[in-house]
Symmetry: C3
Subunit: 205 residues, 3 copies
Amino acid sequence: MAEFIYWIGMAAVAVSALTGVMEAERKEVDMIGATFVAVATALGGGTIRDLLLNRNVFWIADQTYLITAVLCGLIAFFVLRSREIPARWFLIPDAIGLALFTALGTQAAMQWHAPWLAASLLGVITGVFGGVLRDVLCNEVPLVMRAGELYASAAWIGALLQLGLMETGMHAVWASTVTMVAILAIRLAAIRYHWTLPAFPVKGR
Amino acid sequence: MAEFIYWIGMAAVAVSALTGVMEAERKEVDMIGATFVAVATALGGGTIRDLLLNRNVFWIADQTYLITAVLCGLIAFFVLRSREIPARWFLIPDAIGLALFTALGTQAAMQWHAPWLAASLLGVITGVFGGVLRDVLCNEVPLVMRAGELYASAAWIGALLQLGLMETGMHAVWASTVTMVAILAIRLAAIRYHWTLPAFPVKGR
Amino acid sequence: MAEFIYWIGMAAVAVSALTGVMEAERKEVDMIGATFVAVATALGGGTIRDLLLNRNVFWIADQTYLITAVLCGLIAFFVLRSREIPARWFLIPDAIGLALFTALGTQAAMQWHAPWLAASLLGVITGVFGGVLRDVLCNEVPLVMRAGELYASAAWIGALLQLGLMETGMHAVWASTVTMVAILAIRLAAIRYHWTLPAFPVKGR
């Protein structure tokens, strides 16, 4: 199981680094600026989770994650520089990162014996915080906050589902897998079918 | 005394969550986005204080704070959606949150044996950081930084007063209470009578 | 050596506080707002390094740093209010702060036995994070991310050089000194001769 979690984490780092570079492309950043956003997006969520739980920060304990984020950021920079990628492609790796990180974060918080609502929020924070950091660094209102298709809510539903499944005695690997699939499915379906939550009415501008 | 601090903290969390939703209302956020800003505003200051002091984060140790923030955020969202609230009403709960959190943060830092200037700054950080997070998330220049009526300075005066009162041997509950009243009074008087500090001259634009 | 590191740290805090106030001058902030940005710029990088390494935060353990930041911030505020300083003067203290903080951060991360790539990144974070915080607080895209002359890359080259020099057995004081000079030289030469990295092409607006 530890190995499963490990490789899922590495995959989440890789796709999140990619979304960081995709967002940075819209700003006039250079190679290192893009890598910086990639690393912040890929490692930001897990870092804040580890700080909040008072654990050792995962990418200092094992720098393979950091190497992955840096390499993916650099590769993405050179690929995106040479060819155009449609903006909406951004949403799929972002959704994958959201799903993987939320399940991993919830899992880690439960192992640390956080109470249930706190554990689910730590999962959501792990899932969304990298993207928040990416958007704040790029001087945008964070995607998670803009009214639109379910985002943090998809992560939150998934985290609560994971806690419920663990409560029934399901093995952590299965509970995490079901959760990741559920979050990804909800997020993609929400984009496809425009599922939204009640929002503040748009102010006339 | 511990119980007094506990309920004051809960009240500060509730009013701060409210200010978070009031600010989020000006942006096009949905239910979860508003709740997210509410939670960040309500728990942000205490969280950064606990991280800086290397304490266990208060809302993971006791998730009652988190439940309060989430519920107040949701209630505020639905109330504000259905009826208009004048913008200046925002300033009163914000001042209350500033007063309560600053006194609590200074108190906690002193118990942790931080030196005096650091303790007063930790109090101010606890008081203002939730609001900073709220404004950064909403992509605004933080209220604490905009030239205007005394804000962080009101908190700082209060925190230094609290340290002085504790030095004279006053009981922590009384010192905290006097501090809260003082910060609230200074802040509200500053708004009423336009007390300001020297500022950089406004650049012609 | 400990004393050398100590005074270099104090100098870095002083010049960073200065850059914070210079940046804040362009916004309509008051005395406390300017001091707040000064303190965040001066202490932000080292604070995030200490949080990531799970060390005690340096300015709570020894508040001399904090006193230095507050005083430098206040003095800079009154000096800048009374006379005009050309904007490009900002770049020199900023480069000095970058050089000093990066070397100090890398040094601290190595003493804490972080692996090499993580140690170099912690050095870069210590060097740039204060400035990132300054720019986020002032609602600007961080200087580190804007395409332009080598910035984080200068710091990264320096941090890797420092790790290499330490590996050869060079004394920490000398390795740090060489590193600081190298980062400062690269950054200033990059500004003078417009050394840049490959960047995303500017989008037509």
